[in-house]
Each structure stands twice: as C-alpha cells, then as structure tokens.
C-alpha cells in the first residue's frame, strides 16, 4: 500500500482542527479523487502527504522516496524554458547531464508538447503550462503523484482534454495518483475511487467506486455525479446557521 492514513489530524496553532481522524488507504497504481467543499482541508491533507506540512496527530505511511506534486497554478519557473523546467526536476533528482535532455524531450512528447520545449512559460497557454507542469512532476519519477486542483483555473474545453490526457498518462505510466478537486464531475471523470471529505473538520465521510462503465456511459456517470453532489450538499448544509 503506497499510502496509508491512520487517524490523521491537523490543527494550526490553537485553532479548530482542520483535519480530524482521517483514515484512508490508497493502493499502488490507484487513481483516487479527493473531493470536498472549500475549507475541508483537502489541500492540507495533500501537503501532509507531500511532506510539506506535518500532521499534529495520527500516523501516515507514504513511499520513502516521497511524492511528486502538481500545484493548482503551474508554478513553472519563468526564467527557464519549458524543457529546462523539466530538466531542473531531473537535475535535482541527480540525473546526469547527457541523459537529462533526452529524458526531458521524451516527457514533453508524452504530454504532446514536443515542439514547445524552447518556449518560455509566459509564451504558453494555461493548458500548455499545466502539461509542462505535469511533465515536470513525472520527471520526478515518483510512484505517488499528488495533484492539487491542477485544472481548476483552466477553461472547460481545455480541462476536458486534459482529463483525457491525464487518464492516458496514468495508464501509460502506472502511477498512483491522488487528485484533489472541488468539482464532482471531475472527480467522477477521473477517479477510480472518490473520497468525500467533510468540512471543518475534514474527515473522509463516504467513498464511491467508479467503474469502467462510468467512463463511457454518460447516463451512469451522471447518475453517480448526482448522488455524490447530493451527499456533498448535505455536508455543506450542516454548516448552515
């Protein structure tokens, strides 16, 4: 099991807990969508898994080599070209200079950006930037890939395409992906499993399996989306005053 979360809790200072008693196991090669309304601590949970933050209670088991991470904004370095951004990840991983270039080109080709290697981030569209960021996180060569609402800022057309793209790359590379989103459709579209996180404190309240049929049958997928949306709204209503 690449990721095991046991009774995980997190609070900042003396405030109310952001995460409380989070339990989840994520298998190797699994694609899990972590769904929740704003303020449910899903990004915090992801940061904990990435080692960017430490939990205040509970235990967590992640691969010893750490995790690759993809942020909501591409966070590419503007002083480097697309290829150099990917190469930097390889360099920091200790890949030799000669190998870096070929590997970076391969990865850019994987995200269908072979021609854009010499462009700088500001010359790329939002979708292209996110794909470079994806290539960069793949360059880290970690089994676990954590994604923090990576497509939230994109337009709908681009997002739909990137969903296909991400699914394809997930199948090609066999990565374990934890994908955080507040978009129910996105969760259903991408995840094999959808975990719903409650808000304040964040806790896994329910989970659904998404089968291969849901990938091709829009009716079925729509139905599941409806069920999950209803449950999500129930969670949100709890906070009404």
């Amino acid at each position: 099991m690449p990721v095991v979360l046991e009774n995980l809790g997190k609070r900042f200072g003396e405030g109310a807990p952001v995460l409380d008693d989070v339990n989840a196991t994520i298998g190797k090669g699994e694609f899990v969508a972590l769904l929740g309304a704003s303020g449910c601590g899903k990004s915090t949970l992801l940061n904990i898994m990435a080692g960017l933050e430490v939990p205040t209670s509970g235990a967590l088991e992640v691969p010893s080599d750490g995790a690759a991470f993809m942020f909501q904004d591409a966070a590419l370095f503007p002083w480097l070209t697309a290829r150099e951004n990917v190469e930097l990840a390889l360099k920091l991983r200790g890949v030799g200079k000669a190998e870096r270039r070929t590997k970076a080109d391969e990865l850019l080709d994987l995200v269908h950006l072979a021609e854009a290697g010499d462009k700088r981030p500001h010359e790329l569209s939002g979708g292209m930037r996110q794909r470079v960021a994806l290539a960069r996180s793949l360059a880290q060569d970690r089994q676990l890939l954590l994604m923090d609402e990576p497509f939230a800022a994109l337009d709908a057309i681009t997002r739909d395409l990137l969903h296909d793209e991400l699914e394809r790359i997930w199948k090609e590379t066999g990565r374990t992906i934890v994908f955080v989103t507040h978009n129910v459709r996105e969760a259903v579209r991408l995840g094999q499993r959808v975990l719903l996180l409650s808000s304040r404190p964040g806790r896994v309240v329910q989970e659904w399996n998404v089968t291969e049929e849901h990938r091709t049958d829009a009716g079925l997928a729509g139905q599941l989306t409806g069920v999950i949306t209803a449950r999500l709204r129930e969670e949100i209503r709890r906070h009404a005053k």
Binding site: D73, W79, R93, T225
Partner: protein, 327 residues
C-alpha cells in the same frame, strides 16, 4: 441532474473510445461525446491533434520586434533642446561669462583637456576604480545578501544595520578612511565599498522577499537541498530585484567614488574625474568644473545605457514582464 451530455456527430454508429482505430487527421472516430463526464476524445492520436489545435488557438502569434527609432531620436532631441536653452540663457548675458560659461566654452575646454591628455586620464582612472570597486562589492555583497535573506535570525540581527548603512552617505566614511589608510587608493575603495555593498545586499534581500512562495514549495517538492534551493531557485527568481540592487549599487559606487576623489586629493591617489572637479574649483575655472560634471554624468548614463539597460530588458522580456511597460 447536473449532467448535460451533448451528443455531437451521431450519424455514425458509436464506437467505444478505447477500441476506436484512429488515424491522425481522420474524422472517422466520431462518437458520442459527453464532455466532462466521460472520455471525450477517441484515442491518443485524436487527443494529440485536438491539443495541438487548441494550443495554436491559445498561443499568441509571435510579433516581430523592429528597431524603434523614437527610442533613439527622442532622447537626442531632448538633449539638443536642453543645450539650446543653455545657450539662450548664456546669450542673455545675465551673469558673468566666467561664472556661467556657454556650451561652446565648455566644448573648447573639452578640447584643451583632451589635447593635454588629462581628460582621458581622469575618465580612465575613475572608470577603472568605479568598475573594480563595484565588481568587488558584488562579490562580497551577493553571498552576504543570500545568507541574510535565507537565514531568519541573521536577517533580524543585521537587517536594520544594513538598511541603516544604506541611508548613511558613504562620504561620511572619507575622514575615517583617510585616517586609516592615508591618501591611497585604499581610501577610495573603502568609501566605494561602504556605498555599494549595503545597497546590493538590500536589493538582493528585497528581490528574495518578492519571490512567490510557490517557488520554494516547488523546490522542496523537487527535492532541492538548501544550497541547490539558494543557487538554482532563489537566486534566479530574485534576479529582477537583484539587478535593480546592482544598478543602485553601481550608482552608489560611482557617487561615492566622486565624493572620495573630491575630498581626498594628493598622496598616491591618481587623477580622477573628482580630482578634475576639485582642480577646477581651485583654479576657479568654471569650464573645467562644467566639463568634469558633464563627464561624470556621461559615464553614468553610458554605463546605464550600454550595460544595465540591455541586461534588464533581456531579463524582463524572457520572463514576459515587459508587455505594457513604457520602456
């Protein structure tokens, strides 16, 4: 139900996306497209084509840069206008000519100084010292700045002092420097360092402060060590702020140098532009004074135009920060 499937191109029998044999550029792979909820493309080749289309739609066409003559002509015109005003004022005869010489008198003095060789000597001596002093300041200030920006206790301890040093006019160090080093080049360099180093450090620190926090997170996630973080991420990210620090550092070294040269004359200190200015005062020759002032100004402008402006422009352009600026 929030789902809103929009079937497109349904005239052909639907093919399951995974099984669809698709060749690039063919429209045969038309199938039910339910964007957002199900797979919307029909395979890798189709996806590649769609993405490439979208990429070209979303990318700006490359605009060719042309030589912009107004960039050269406008400053030259401004200069000409100023000289004409100067000449006009002098020709009114309100002041004695030896107190306010005209442009032609100064030009004549330029010629004399050039023929003597003292003009070349003064410019060369000062420029050499200014550049050497500045470069050494950069070498000293950069690691200190990085260290202060990265290590919080150090910054809390020394930050106010460094900011304070920037406020203190470096001329204030001249008397101390003369007492310590006598009338030697060491005095001049010391004053230059005290002027340039604090402002380079401050520029670098403020450049580091303006780095989006995301960059550090990316660095951490990519597994950068402390040193790699500083050199591969922090320093390049802080480059725009660092560069303005360098510019200011150069300005401070040039100014401090002039101040030092005016005050500390004689001994083994060579003949620089400041010394020339001082000589003009001693001889009560306004044309020498004006020549020296104009030369000091000209060197400053030339360094800005030939060294800093191109570097800065390139730096900002590569990062896409120039659009819409009046540069």
């Amino acid at each position: 139900m929030p789902s809103n499937p929009t079937p497109v191109a349904e005239e052909k029998p639907a093919v399951l996306p995974d099984e669809a044999p698709v060749s690039a550029g063919s429209a045969t792979g038309s199938t039910k497209i339910h964007a957002a909820l199900t797979r919307s493309s029909t395979g890798s080749a189709d996806l590649r084509e769609l993405e490439s289309g979208l990429d070209s739609l979303q990318s700006d066409a490359i605009r060719k840069a042309r030589v912009d003559w107004s960039r050269i002509l406008l400053p030259v015109a401004a200069l000409v206008v100023l000289i004409i005003i100067w000449q006009f004022y002098v020709s009114l005869g309100l002041k004695r000519r030896d107190q306010v010489p005209g442009p032609m008198d100064v030009l004549e003095q330029f010629g004399t100084l050039w023929a003597e060789g003292s003009l070349q000597e003064a410019v060369w001596t000062s420029l050499q010292r200014g550049i050497m002093g500045f470069l050494i300041s950069v070498v000293i200030a950069t690691p200190i700045g990085l260290l202060l920006a990265q290590v919080a206790p150090l910054r809390r301890a020394f930050g106010p002092l460094i900011s304070g040093l920037q406020v203190l006019p470096s001329v204030a160090w001249v008397p101390a420097a003369i007492i310590w080093f006598g009338l030697t080049d060491a005095t001049v360099y010391f004053v230059v360092f005290m002027g340039a180093i604090p402002s380079i450090i401050n520029g670098l620190i403020s450049g580091v402060d303006q780095i989006p926090p995301q960059y550090r997170s990316v660095g951490t996630v990519l597994g950068a060590s402390r040193f790699q973080m500083a050199v591969q991420i922090i320093l390049p990210a802080a480059l725009p702020g660092y560069l303005s620090g360098l510019k200011q550092g150069w300005a401070f070294s040039w100014r401090s140098l002039m101040a030092a040269e005016i005050i500390a004359v004689g001994g083994t200190i060579g003949f620089g532009l400041g010394s020339m200015l001082n000589q003009g005062r001693d001889l009560a020759d306004m044309t020498i004074v004006m020549s020296a002032i104009l030369l000091i100004l000209a060197v400053g402008i030339l360094i800005e135009l030939l060294v800093f402006a191109p570097i800065e422009k390139r730096l900002l352009q590569r990062r896409g920060l120039l659009a819409g600026s009046t540069r």
